[in-house]
């Protein structure tokens, strides 16, 4: 398909089939923010350094600023908007609030998605495992400590709920 043509791209976004018309030179982040109106994922460095644009593609943490939207045609994308359940914050979101893990908040959507993917595969991660899982998400406010506290708190809450 040629460079200027708008082509349809259908993704399962937060559980809903969403179709957008985009050019091939559209990143997943641009499709989410500017075509589908999902502005939770943040446009930070826009070149893969900061992690603020992290979303899950088929459950795997992915930098949406470096992902071409057409490469996600037919795939499942989860953004920070997909974490809350009918308006009730996810335990991770609640924990970030309670520990002060979000200050300016710009890195938070990416932090939440990396942390969410970690807790999906590991119910009781160690502090080192959390730190490692979040190592691709930069924060310039918190010094990270409160973010790590938040993930530990959310993990404990989720384990409690699973009992």
């Amino acid at each position: 398909m040629d460079a200027a043509a708008l082509v349809p791209c259908t993704m399962q976004v937060n559980g809903d089939a969403r179709t957008c018309a985009i050019t091939p030179a559209t990143t997943l982040l641009e499709a989410l923010r500017y075509t589908l109106g999902l502005t939770g994922s943040k446009q930070g460095c826009d070149k893969g350094d900061c992690g603020a644009c992290t979303v899950l593609v088929d459950g795997v943490p992915t930098l949406s600023c470096l992902t071409l939207a057409l490469a996600c045609d037919g795939r499942a994308v989860t953004t920070v908007e997909g974490l809350a359940d009918k308006g009730v914050p996810h335990p991770l979101q609640d924990a970030f609030d309670r520990t002060g893990g979000a200050q300016c908040g710009f890195c938070t959507p990416g932090m939440l998605m990396s942390a969410y993917a970690l807790l999906q595969r590991e119910a009781a991660p160690t502090r080192d495992e959390i730190s490692h899982a979040l190592s691709g998400n930069l924060c310039r406010c918190t010094g990270y400590t409160k973010i790590l506290d938040a993930v530990e708190l959310a993990a404990a809450e989720l384990r409690e709920r699973a009992k």
Partner: protein, 334 residues
Amino acid sequence: MLTLPAFAWSRPQSVEDALAVLAAHPGECLIVAGGTDAVPNLKHRLHEPRRLVHLGGIGELRGIRAGDAGLEVGALVTLTELASHPHVREHFPGVVTAAAHVASPQIRNMGTVGGNLCLDTRCTYYNQTFFWREALGFCLKKDGTRCHVVPQGKRCVAAHSSDVAPVWIALGAEVEIASRDADGAVSRRSIPVEAFFVGDGVHNNVLAPGELVTRVLVPGAAYGLRTSYRKLRPRAAIDFPMLSVAVAVRGDAARIEELRVVVSALGAKPRTLGGLDAIVAGRAHDAALAEAVGAVAHKQCHPLSNVPYDTDWRHDMVPVFVKRALADALGVPA
């Protein structure tokens, strides 16, 4: 906000289809897999292709297979998959360490073995926005005529920055390349990973336009080698190497039979140290031996100011990292 330039799009479903697309649009295509290197470079206008050929739909390029002939790693295997594969973890810890040290978790989830081999070379004066490069009058590697690293230099010295390639070289691995002749017949050839790279920072591998990396093949003879990888970088969380060292040893700390040391992130091509057998063959690992190997590395390796860190310091770190990597491979304290 960094936008992409306009490009047409192809998403072939087989190697044959991909080669046909490349042949139909000669000189116009950029091959993309994970996109972690190509996409930022496109945003910086370092590549200006008319068409992107996305490999994500080619199932045959996925998967890791261990057989009698050795290990086959598909070009689309992600670095996360490589670093977590049980067979690779058991036999090739150096590969695991190198793959696990690439950038960040998200980039390892996206970045592929083939893309990591074909990673564009990097330089302080190249990996910048168009605006930045234009202000300096561009450089040899892209759009300009002079090198800002070696001002009188005629050859680009941008740094080879793949983490895994030095370990593949130390293991004697081969890379399989698919190509298509004028009649449309598809053929595949394998060459040593070491021979894949050339000392030209503008295009530091032998891949011709229209060719595709399909697999990495680790020979059966590589089983039993003890491998390790050490990387010097500014931040442990995410950074390209400013010095990287891969080691493969046959034997053990009590008696080293054979030693291969590959040092990279200095110039356009990884450097395999020469003359090591005379120092190590048949000897036990001790402080004197490590010093001797480190001294060879210091003499043969010459960092340039192609990455933004002190050149003399990087040079001094070469023997330090070689000694540490050797100790890692042998499982002894550095």
